[in-house]
């Protein structure tokens, strides 16, 4: 993972579930590009048009609740989203994101951040700066166990080492 991740934000609410991230009707494929084409469409038809490569999703509580489909973080990653920052994550989504190498951060950044703000995540410092709003937030540190997986670039890569 890069130490600094900078991008424009796309802000969503609480309990964004895996059925809106990628509806089950598209789950006959696991090709990232095909999944990305339908990412978030039940929440926002124009999600794909609105976001640009490198954008960061900033969410409230319980992001990714619902199904265990890894297609959800894959769809987000393949849409070009560079990281997801949420007040909290549903457990399986969090695990899947780490496993496939989608950067995820637990932080209160949703408070005071609006869609389109420019933010910068400093991974090692555990800090998120809202460059538009001039506010700084802390991120929750990862336990040592997870750091190993993250620095390897995902679960299977950690095994190869």
């Amino acid at each position: 993972m890069k130490n600094k991740i900078k991008g424009k934000t796309y802000v969503v609410g609480d309990s964004i579930d895996t059925d809106v991230i990628i509806p089950a009707r598209y789950l006959t494929t696991d090709k990232p590009a095909e999944l990305a084409a339908h990412c978030m469409e039940d929440l926002d038809r124009d999600f794909r048009k609105k976001i640009k490569k490198g954008d960061i999703i900033v969410a409230g509580e319980n992001f990714g609740c619902g199904s265990s489909r890894e297609h959800a973080p894959i769809a987000i990653k393949a849409s070009g989203i560079s990281a997801v920052v949420a007040k909290s994550f549903a457990r399986i989504f969090f695990r899947n994101a780490i496993n496939i190498g989608l950067p995820v951060f637990v932080s209160e950044a949703r408070n005071g951040t609006k869609t389109g703000d420019l933010i910068e995540i400093n991974v090692s410092a555990g800090e998120i700066k809202n460059l538009s709003g001039k506010k700084t937030y802390k991120t929750q540190p990862f336990p040592a166990f997870l750091k190993k997986i993250i620095s390897a670039g995902g679960l299977l890569k950690s095994l190869k080492k």
């Binding site: 059925d19 089950a24 789950l27 265990s68 297609h71 695990r95 496993n99 166990f145």
Partner: protein
């Protein structure tokens, strides 16, 4: 140590563990389905290694089966060929839905550590397994190593006492509980169900409750094995069952069920709970009775009780969705299928189908369903503008007759 800590200590070869610590535990069963399986298997194949323990790997093709289109047929064929070559357990139609099939066949038993690339893997806590949903990559990792990492969850205990009403089922108890604590009220925790009401609760309804632990964010749900559990397990599987000691829970909530009414979860969250009797303004287009939540024989006994001698209201599709072929057979022998046919129901094969808006019984925009499944998120059962109300088999069957959501006493 409590029940969960005891299982996970044993599976990780440690004498003692505590909630919060990280362990690598041996998996007794590694499950995947026709959605999550192809991804896990492709990753496995590209690693170019052997499966650590092929006997522990179970593939159940249930979501889009009997195959709904060419893509899903290709996925199932891919998994079928893989299973044959690598000698892993493989099931497809007509077997049924994974979380009904695994306990029924004794593939999962008490004391097991189970991971499944399906979030409702938590169902098996009803027979005393530590069972939790993970993603495809975790399954690949476990196929390669036989193990998986866990953070040991804290136990959140729910103790149910009082007198349960005639039409109040395990489904009502779990919906009510999720309503109380919210969709992330048990995030990262194991939900333990206890108390006199649970001791008396039939196994099928314990499955229903554990099935929905994930809807409160739970990592697992469980009931500490008792006589009922032992009786259920007996004679099913080949592997040895293990019974662990229990201890203190991290957190506890007492729930008195006296006076509780049948409830529904209204769109679009499983924690938006209302009394079924207050919902009769809501007209429905479809009722679904079955799935891994409520697709076992006593669920159909409840539905049959309501539908016997009654007719499904004209224009409403009432879909009976058996959890497994075996349940279907039992329902036939007990005469329920005939009751359903006479009342005008559609009898589906044992599949996930409508539960996830996959196939058979997909909703159009503006359409409303009452369903005994476990999720009512936006678009879950079809079009983005459709709406799903979650309920027990009693409520779903009564609503199918009335054409709007009602409580069975109102029929």
């Amino acid at each position: 140590m409590n029940y969960i800590e005891n299982i996970l200590a044993s599976a990780s070869g440690l004498r003692s563990v505590r909630a919060g610590s990280f362990v690598e535990a041996k998996c007794d069963v590694i499950l995947m389905n026709d959605i999550t399986g192809p991804l896990a298997v492709k990753q496995f194949l590209s690693a170019g290694r052997k499966i650590k323990n092929p006997k522990s790997v179970v593939i159940v093709c249930d979501h889009f089966t009997p195959n709904k289109d060419i893509k899903s047929a290709e996925n199932v064929k891919f998994l079928r060929d893989f299973a044959k070559k690598y000698k892993v357990n493989f099931y497809e139609s007509p077997t049924g839905v994974e979380h009904v099939v695994l306990p029924e066949k004794g593939i999962v038993t008490s004391g097991d550590v189970v991971i499944g690339a399906d979030s409702h893997t938590c169902t098996y806590g009803a027979i005393g397994a530590f069972a939790t949903g993970v993603g495809s990559t975790d399954v690949t990792y476990a196929m390669l190593t036989g193990k998986i990492w866990f953070k040991i969850p804290e136990v959140f205990e729910f103790e149910y006492d009082g007198k349960r009403g005639k039409f109040v089922t395990g489904k009502d108890l779990i919906l009510y509980t999720i309503g109380k604590i919210g969709v992330n009220g048990a995030n990262y925790m194991a939900m333990k169900f206890s108390g006199s009401v649970i001791s008396q609760l039939p196994m099928d309804e314990r499955f229903t409750m554990c099935n929905m632990a994930i809807e409160a964010g739970g990592k697992a749900g469980f009931v500490v094995p008792d006589e009922k559990t032992r009786k259920y397990i007996e004679g099913r599987g080949k592997r040895k069952s293990r019974f662990f000691k229990d201890g203190e829970s991290f957190k506890k909530m007492k729930i008195n069920v006296t006076g509780l009414d049948p409830v529904v979860a209204v769109p679009h969250r499983p924690d938006k709970i209302r009394r079924a009797r207050d919902m009769n303004r809501v007209k429905i287009d479809q009722a679904v009775i079955g799935s891994c939540t409520n697709g076992r024989i006593s669920d159909f006994a409840q539905a049959a009780k309501i539908l016997k001698g009654s007719k499904v209201k004209r224009g409403i599709r009432a879909i009976i969705l058996p959890g497994s072929q075996k349940v279907y057979q039992q329902a036939l022998e007990k005469g329920y299928i005939e009751i359903f046919l006479k009342s005008g129901c559609i009898i589906a094969p044992a599949t996930c189908g409508p539960c996830l808006g996959g196939h058979m019984g997909v909703l159009a925009n503006e359409e409303v369903a009452v369903s005994t499944t476990n999720r009512n998120f936006v678009g879950r059962m079809g079009a983005t503008g459709s709406r799903v109300y979650l309920a027990s088999p009693y409520v779903a069957a009564a609503s199918a007759v009335a054409g709007r959501i009602i409580s069975p006493e109102q029929l």
